[in-house]
């Protein structure tokens, strides 16, 4: 009998050792603070020809979180006086940007792939970081104003299991919604991966874009059409005030005049162009690259190809072909998708 008892004890201990030794990599059990909280977790539906989207560590995406974020995005209640919402500047029909003058409004598209935000990249990290900046610093949201709304308290509970409304919770919900805002259904995507055919001008324009003739691809890397980096593209040769760009963040002299590479998706909808909105049309943008580049010690090395120090020297036909290609990046379904519209 004593031997049997010893066997039971020994094998129980052995089983525990095996389980502990083999489960180091497993997820810890998530505590569920309220049995009535039952969020519907989802994966972001990203196109298989896009690079893998970095996943947030502490803000799993749920239908309830996306829905709450969408509601907040369109609600002026984020502003202490209720004067404006995210959507006041990020207008869907304009590719989630607008033209209020001054610093150009960054287009909200495919931001889930970004790791630095704003033109000089002063907010680094993921969408939760930039959305916290927007809620906490830009809007300075009065959470008490939101908390008196019983509907909002219920929706925060559905999303996060807690009806207490905080700036952090607001930013998490906004991040989930913005992460879901993916544009991948432009004519370009369809002729690359679907049934549509490119026009001859689009074909030639893409060749210019993806070759040394235009050399656009180094910074506007397909399929996101950005490299998440910062470049001085020769807009100025003297840098003062906000024109110092990335230098404000890095303190690196070679970052003077460098700004974040904007995506070119929906570029036809997102005028004006450049960080300060100095160009009103795509023709003006191409003319800058073609013949208006200003030299400086911090000019990006990519912009210093021999014979092209002052511009690409494209012909009028090539410029029109390049513009035809850029127009193929317009995603009409993105700017009319009801999932991203005001709820």
């Amino acid at each position: 009998m004593r031997l049997q008892y010893f066997h039971s004890l020994f094998f129980g201990w052995a089983a525990l050792v095996i389980l502990m030794a083999c489960n180091k990599g497993d997820d810890p059990i998530q505590p569920n603070p309220d049995p009535n909280w039952n969020p519907t977790y989802v994966s972001i539906d990203q196109p298989n020809w896009f690079p893998a989207m970095p996943a947030p560590d502490l803000n799993p995406t749920s239908l309830e979180g996306i829905a709450l974020g969408r509601r907040l995005y369109y609600d002026a209640a984020l502003h202490p006086e209720g004067s404006f919402s995210c959507s006041s500047c990020h207008v869907q029909s304009e590719g989630f940007t607008s033209n209020p003058g001054g610093t150009a409004v960054v287009s909200h598209v495919n931001l889930g792939w970004y790791d630095a935000f704003l033109w000089n990249g002063k907010i680094e990290g993921g969408l939760e970081n930039i959305m916290y900046f927007e809620v906490n610093d830009f809007f300075q949201t009065d959470v008490d104003r939101l908390s008196v709304n019983e509907v909002y308290r219920g929706k925060f509970f559905q999303a996060f299991g807690d009806s207490t409304i905080t700036r952090v919770a607001c930013s998490k919900a906004l991040a989930q919604f913005v992460r879901s805002m993916i544009s991948a259904d432009a004519h370009y995507d369809r002729y690359k991966h679907g049934n549509e055919l490119p026009t001859p001008d689009e074909v030639m324009g893409e060749k210019i874009f993806n070759s040394e003739a235009g050399d656009c691809f180094h910074c506007h890397v397909p399929p996101l059409f950005t490299d998440n980096s910062f470049h001085n593209i020769g807009l100025d040769s003297v840098f003062e005030g906000d024109a110092v760009g990335r230098f404000l963040v890095s303190g690196n002299d070679y970052d003077k005049g460098a700004f974040k590479t904007p995506t070119l998706r929906n570029i036809a909808l997102t005028a004006p162009y450049m960080h300060d909105g100095r160009f009103q049309t795509l023709e003006e943008v191409i003319d800058h690259y073609n013949e208006g580049v200003h030299s400086s010690y911090s000019l990006d090395p990519i912009m210093t190809k021999p014979g092209k120090e002052n511009g690409l020297q494209l012909s009028e036909t090539q410029k029109q072909q390049l513009i035809a290609f850029l127009l193929s990046l317009t995603d009409s379904t993105y700017v009319s998708n009801e999932s991203f519209s005001s709820p």
Binding site: L3, H7, F11, A14, V17, I18, A21, C22, W49, F50, P51, A52, P54, W113, E206, K207, N210, S211, E212, F217, V221, P222, L224, D227, N228, N252, D253, Y254, S295, S296, Y297, S298, L299, D300, P301, I302, M303, T304, K305, P306, E309
Partner: protein
């Protein structure tokens, strides 16, 4: 009584085998490389206009990112231990500079590897589709695959004016095979092998490379040939 011991025997086997399915035999040692980027006997400092190459160009370096692949360790019996997988190394990402390529028995080896990607790896879609590999893509209409190396910076040109340079290599034939002369000792007392890139070697031997005569290599097969050949002795193995 012997039957009583049988369960213990089975348990011992389970304990020793249950968690080690992916492990190689106990006689093998992990091959771990620590990558260093050096200029003039010191670690590379980005964006410092203080380096001078063999042609006399005063230069700074703003970016150094490249692939290493096709590691081979040849033992004293001429057996080749191959580890073809690629590693992207970016000076701005310190975590890239420690790589474990596989395991081999302890001993002395000669080392071979590529700066760049072998033809089988240098294909669209051959590497994991993530942001960092995406940024290294070499457009299909220029040959396809990936940039093998992006070495970028600024220099003072012949008129003493600051300008940029880009060393971009890619497409078949422009890898830089490395065959360090030094013997690699792998054992428990040598857990990490240091591979040091002398960055300015890309501009020296066999071709004295003057940035005034070629500050932009992509698409120029003559410049790419000179640079890829110069890069063949960029790495040394430290004792």
């Amino acid at each position: 009584m012997r039957l009583v011991l049988l369960p213990y025997l089975i348990l011992a086997v389970v304990l020793f085998s249950s968690c080690s399915k992916d492990e190689a035999p106990a006689v093998s040692i992990p091959v771990t490389f620590q990558i260093e980027h050096f200029v003039d006997g010191a670690s590379l400092a980005l964006d410092s206009l203080k380096y001078e190459n063999a042609a006399g160009n005063l230069l700074s370096i703003s970016r150094l990112s490249y692939y290493l692949s096709d590691f081979q360790l040849i033992d004293e019996a001429d057996v080749i231990w191959s580890f073809p997988q690629p590693y992207l190394v970016d000076h701005a990402h310190p975590e890239d500079r420690m790589i474990e390529v596989g395991r081999v028995p302890p001993g002395q080896y000669h080392l071979r590897f590529l700066v760049g990607l072998s033809p089988s790896l240098n294909q669209p879609g051959s590497l994991p589709n993530n942001l960092r590999n995406n940024e290294m893509i070499w457009p299909t209409m220029m040959g396809g695959g990936f940039h093998f190396i992006k070495l970028e910076g600024h220099f003072l040109n012949a008129e003493d004016k600051p300008t940029g340079f880009t060393v971009h290599l890619g497409t078949e034939g422009f890898t830089s095979p490395q065959r360090p002369e030094e013997v690699v000792k792998i054992g428990m007392d040598h857990p990490v092998i240091t591979l040091r890139m002398e960055v300015l070697e890309w501009f020296d031997t066999p071709t004295l490379y003057d940035l005034n005569e070629g500050n932009y290599s992509m698409g120029d097969s003559v410049l790419m040939r000179q640079l890829s050949n110069n890069g063949r002795d960029a790495f040394t193995v430290l004792p």
